[in-house]
């Protein structure tokens, strides 16, 4: 990995950590608070691509593991990796990678803005909603022993918020691509 890519990933990890310190917002129609951190994970994918975005998220997870309270709400430490929501946390890694892979594959600067935003949106959905929630539900169901149906139903409450985040990530991803293009990954 080139030094530039390493630094890009580290700086983005710092952004994800900083987003954890932003207070969560409550939207009236959604029963759970919307935290900015998982938005950061989707952004890592659409802006940095699979490898660098994945590495950025890996760094965040390592920071949590070594005992730094970088998750929103000041959470951290090894306990978060056995908490019921641990599947979502580790799922971030795969989410960023999938979102990044799809972004690199299907979005480029020659497309119209609508196509770019749609592309990033689908990439963010695939990674941040489908893959992350699948892993979250899997751990919840199997690991904690609540069963698939229960876990799935519990998960539904978080989907609207994450779909909204995917939309924000798509618009932001496009804006960053215009202002400071980082895809495709140059050596």
């Amino acid at each position: 990995m080139s030094t530039r890519d390493l630094v890009l990933a580290a700086l983005f990890a710092a952004i994800i950590v900083a987003l954890g310190l932003v207070p969560p917002i409550m939207l009236g129609f959604i029963p759970v608070p919307i935290t900015a951190q998982s938005l950061g994970v989707m952004l890592a994918g659409v802006i940095l691509g699979a490898k660098r975005g994945g590495f950025a998220v890996l760094l965040v997870l390592l920071l949590v593991a070594i005992g730094l309270p970088v998750l929103s709400g000041g959470r951290g430490g090894l306990a978060t990796f056995v908490s019921p929501t641990a599947g979502y946390l580790v799922g971030w890694l795969f989410a960023a990678y999938v979102t990044g892979y799809l972004s690199e594959r299907f979005v480029d600067r020659s497309q119209s803005s609508i196509v770019q935003i749609a592309g990033f949106f689908l990439a963010a959905l695939a990674g941040g909603v489908v893959v992350d929630h699948a892993l979250g539900v899997a751990y919840l169901a199997w690991g904690t022993g609540t069963g698939l149906m229960t876990a799935f139903v519990g998960d539904l409450a978080f989907i609207p918020g994450d779909v909204l985040k995917a939309l924000i990530a798509a618009f932001a991803g496009r804006a960053v691509m215009i202002g400071y293009p980082l895809l495709p990954q140059r050596a």
């Binding site: 030094t3 990933a9 310190l21 965040v60 430490g77 090894l78 022993g145 924000i168």
Partner: protein, 201 residues
């Protein structure tokens, strides 16, 4: 950045990080494999004793565990209502035991020790060409170094919004934050390369 490590000289503090991590991994595995309420209860009590032995005091101890215990409680209640009391008990005991043991390891192992262990564990992966072990410690340092800068930048952008009478929105905050932060990457990378920090020595 404040860490969750607490200075001290307890039995766990003196235990080597590797032993603690391996023990934690093994106990986690066992706790996931068993469904016996008796074993799980014993583990939870054990975990509680170990955690209490750290001498953190009631307030600190609860503060650290509150978010995760809350989540466990919610999941346990869901399970109670939708499945069975037996399953709910299993969930409650298993997760509580794991959380207590994990939190105890976190509180008694410094970030420096963790980074050393991670670097050592990454060495075999170097041969596959996945990652360079030394890069991990460097990258972690980079993140911790630049988080305060990102926060300062975030506040500056938010203040600029207020000054213009604009309401800060996720989009209008995130985009400048990302671009301004990532723009430094080239110079930071050049400085790292100029000092030969990643050169194979």
């Amino acid at each position: 950045m404040k860490t969750l490590y607490v200075e001290g000289d307890t039995f766990l503090h003196r235990l080597s990080p590797r032993v603690k991590l391996v023990a934690l991994a093994l106990s986690s595995l066992l706790l996931f494999l068993t469904d016996s309420p008796l074993l799980l209860a014993a583990a939870a009590v054990c975990g509680g004793c170990i955690y209490a032995s750290l001498g953190l005091g009631w307030r600190q101890s609860l503060l650290r565990l509150r978010p995760i215990l809350l989540t466990i409680a919610i999941v346990a209640i869901f399970t109670l209502v939708l499945n069975s009391p037996g399953q709910a008990l299993t969930v409650l005991l298993r997760l509580t035991a794991l959380a207590l043991l994990a939190a105890a390891v976190t509180a008694t192992t410094s970030t420096g020790d963790f980074i050393d262990e991670i670097t050592l564990a990454a060495r075999p992966l170097e041969r596959i060409g996945l990652v360079r072990a030394a890069d991990l410690g460097l990258s972690i340092g980079l993140v911790v170094r630049f988080v305060p800068e990102v926060l300062t930048r975030y506040h500056a952008i938010r203040d600029a919004h207020h000054a213009r009478g604009l309401k800060p929105r996720p989009l209008t905050l995130a985009v400048p934050l990302i671009i301004l932060t990532l723009r430094n990457a080239d110079e930071i990378a050049a400085a790292i390369d100029a000092r030969g920090i990643r050169a194979q020595k």
